[in-house]
Symmetry: C2
Subunit: 424 residues, 2 copies
């Protein structure tokens, strides 16, 4: 695999602030618009969005298999349809154009003015037209915490959990991008099993700190993607907050799983960071015992070291980071999730989204949901403004961030910022 865009010695002629999530080694993809401009596909360098439509029109993307409509699209899907190699070549081309040692774009001031747009002048949009959304449940600590709280601390993990990456289908229509608010969902709950259920706004609104990956087109129905092949079908990753209403969930979820407790909204970060950009941050896989069945076996490192945090910002106050976790805590890897998902012949399509499930770490401050952090409301979290949180309040803003860092190179995912509004 040849990924010149990841060379640690690369420097860009575009100024990149220290600790930026978007150095020349990142080159993520997203969709944006401006006051003057309809939706376009872009990349990002430092504090600038790179307008790929302009790059295309100005001739900088010649000899790549793309057309103009791939870049003035409302989603990345058309670009992604061209496949992994084409997207890799595109990313390498963008990197080259932004590299100090290449002068083509750098020396054309007029073109630079068209191609680079200050990030604070754009509105980022949902990057992908999502076909199917699947959510896994792949953090052992999270599954153990939930099992301990709601079932039996001595048998917290259900019998299937260590044998297969448990997953279920979620709702695509209600996936939104960072910046869009959510409305507190209403629903049926039954907190007292001796009384009739009641209806009203959820009293237990929660976040779930997750990451998600986006797929390329897969194989025809009836065929499977092996763990060896899986990376070829993964475009990239982003941050993901899978909003949950715990009181609705506990009443509705047997026997078919969560439904209205989850499908009112899930929030996505706007930049998709390619798997290529994350290659330097691979780490050893978690040990898996019992040994997995053959179709789930992998060779080589398939885990990633990605720092993650979630914060709560009460209205008119500051952000309180309540959780610091890491993607490497995942028990099941993405290639195992994808192999499992397709082993029955289920097909995947360009733009499908697969969530990791809540990523909880081993320590109490690394749990990925309020349910776990405040332990079912028994340990409220203190905010810097003196208030406490068992769950999320109306007018709170919830902020998720994530990045990888190694040898002075930081590849970041930006953030998800979501304000919670009262029931509509």
């Amino acid at each position: 695999m040849n990924i010149p865009a990841n060379n640690p010695d690369l420097k860009s002629w575009v100024e990149v602030p220290q600790n930026s999530d978007f150095p020349i080694q990142n080159i993520p993809f997203g969709v944006f618009k401006t006051a003057q401009m309809n939706t376009r596909v872009g990349s990002r360098i430092g504090d600038y969005v790179v307008d790929l439509k302009s790059l295309f029109v100005l001739g900088y993307l010649e000899n790549l298999p793309f057309e103009a409509h791939d870049f003035d699209a409302t989603s990345l899907n058309s670009m992604m349809k061209k496949g992994k190699k084409a997207v890799r070549d595109l990313r390498n081309r963008i990197s080259k154009l932004l590299d100090t040692s290449h002068s083509d774009l750098q020396n054309n001031e007029h073109h630079v003015g068209q191609v680079l747009i200050p990030a604070d002048q754009v509105t980022m949009l949902l990057p992908v037209e999502i076909g199917d959304y699947t959510d896994f449940y792949s953090s052992r600590e999270h599954a153990t915490n939930v099992g301990t709280m709601f079932r039996d601390p001595n048998n917290a993990l259900l019998p299937n959990w260590l044998w297969l990456p448990v997953g279920y289908h979620g709702r695509s229509s209600s996936i939104i991008v960072s910046g869009e608010p959510i409305y507190r969902p209403k629903g049926q709950t039954r907190n007292d099993p001796e009384k009739d259920p009641t209806f009203g706004p959820t009293q237990r609104l929660d976040f779930e700190l997750e990451m998600a990956f986006i797929t390329f087109d897969g194989k025809p129905l009836g065929e499977s993607i092996s763990t060896e092949e899986a990376e070829d079908y993964i475009f990239g990753m982003c941050l993901f907050n899978d909003w949950s209403a715990r009181d609705i969930q506990s009443w509705e979820y047997v026997p078919l799983g969560p439904f209205l407790a989850k499908n009112f909204a899930s929030s996505l970060s706007p930049w998709i960071v390619t798997l290529d950009a994350l290659e330097p941050f691979k780490v050893d896989n978690p040990e898996q015992a019992p040994k997995v069945l053959d179709y789930l076996k992998t060779t080589g490192q398939k885990s990633y070291d990605i720092h993650l945090e979630m914060g709560i910002q009460p209205e008119n106050s500051e952000n309180n980071v309540v959780c610091r976790s890491n993607f490497k805590y995942m028990y099941w890897t993405m290639v195992q999730q994808l192999a499992h998902h397709t082993v029955n012949g289920c097909n995947i399509r360009c733009g499908d989204l697969m969530g990791s499930g809540t990523i909880s770490g081993p320590t109490e401050d690394s749990y990925g949901s309020m349910l776990e952090l405040a332990w079912k409301g028994t340990k409220p979290l203190k905010m810097s403004d003196g208030t406490e949180r068992k769950f999320i309040n109306d007018h709170d803003t919830v902020i998720m961030k994530g990045y990888s860092e190694k040898n002075g190179i930081r590849i970041g995912f930006g953030e998800i910022v979501t304000k919670v509004l009262p029931t509509k």
Copy 2:
């Protein structure tokens, strides 16, 4: 509501065979292609497909809010985007053009030749680009049977079942149309809880006799559709066979619900019958006790009398009807399902598909799955060729049919024909 297309006295100048599913009172919508023609939107009368693109080009659809590309599309979505009133007006126009008392099309032999295509010369395609697929679990008899088999006969229904229409999200990518074969899925199962799980083709492949409804565009995220409004957001209905692998299901489904046991394939009938066409077949709703919460209350008849059957045709043999059921056995109505689905602010989109769940009736021959019909394999079903079935074998063809009938008018759904092929 003015639905002239349903007038029982209407007769078409196109010959309609007795017992046809498609008299002039039906006028369903679907997508087809022929050897000479790319995909087009069509309707159906007797043994002919009505080519709506030709009707449009020849000027017969004037003063309706449609454009040519709505009818040479690969799905009904573009047409449906125009909304309930537009589609109702279109259906009434088609009915009028095919009515004996109107001469415009009838008397133009050349045009008739372009517009009517013998049904045996077309290939029917998946009619809808499905955004999200939701499956409910709304037959009391089915839920009771499953609860009796797998849990406790004395507490077969879980506590939430009578309070809300239990549902969950399924997979859109693997929904196929009648005529397409399925491949027996592989997966992980654990039939002996004392031994490690194993991997291989499912040994318990099952059908589920269901119906599904297709939605128009809904409201913005955060808003709800009431039971009173729900019919305005439903385009029509079709037959639905939600394939299931029972051994995979029982191992994987706790705690997040069925996943690989279902998402390898679901089969749809090609013609969508509008809710308008089904209006004459409304019947009283089932009695619901306990009384439902306010947001689930309805006024008037919301159930439909639709005869349903499922058959198994072993290779080189004949169809054995193994189940005769009826849509009216559903405990929860479609308007309740849709109101519940959106009560938390979840948005629906044009082309979403909502399955009823397996529709089992009160008698043993009206159960909607092999799991129930052969009662967990304890009562194998005899085929006319002398073989027996506990579940579905490779090379079996499974055939679902459905129709409503009243006062000599039969509104049918056609059929779903699906052959089961060995694991790929």
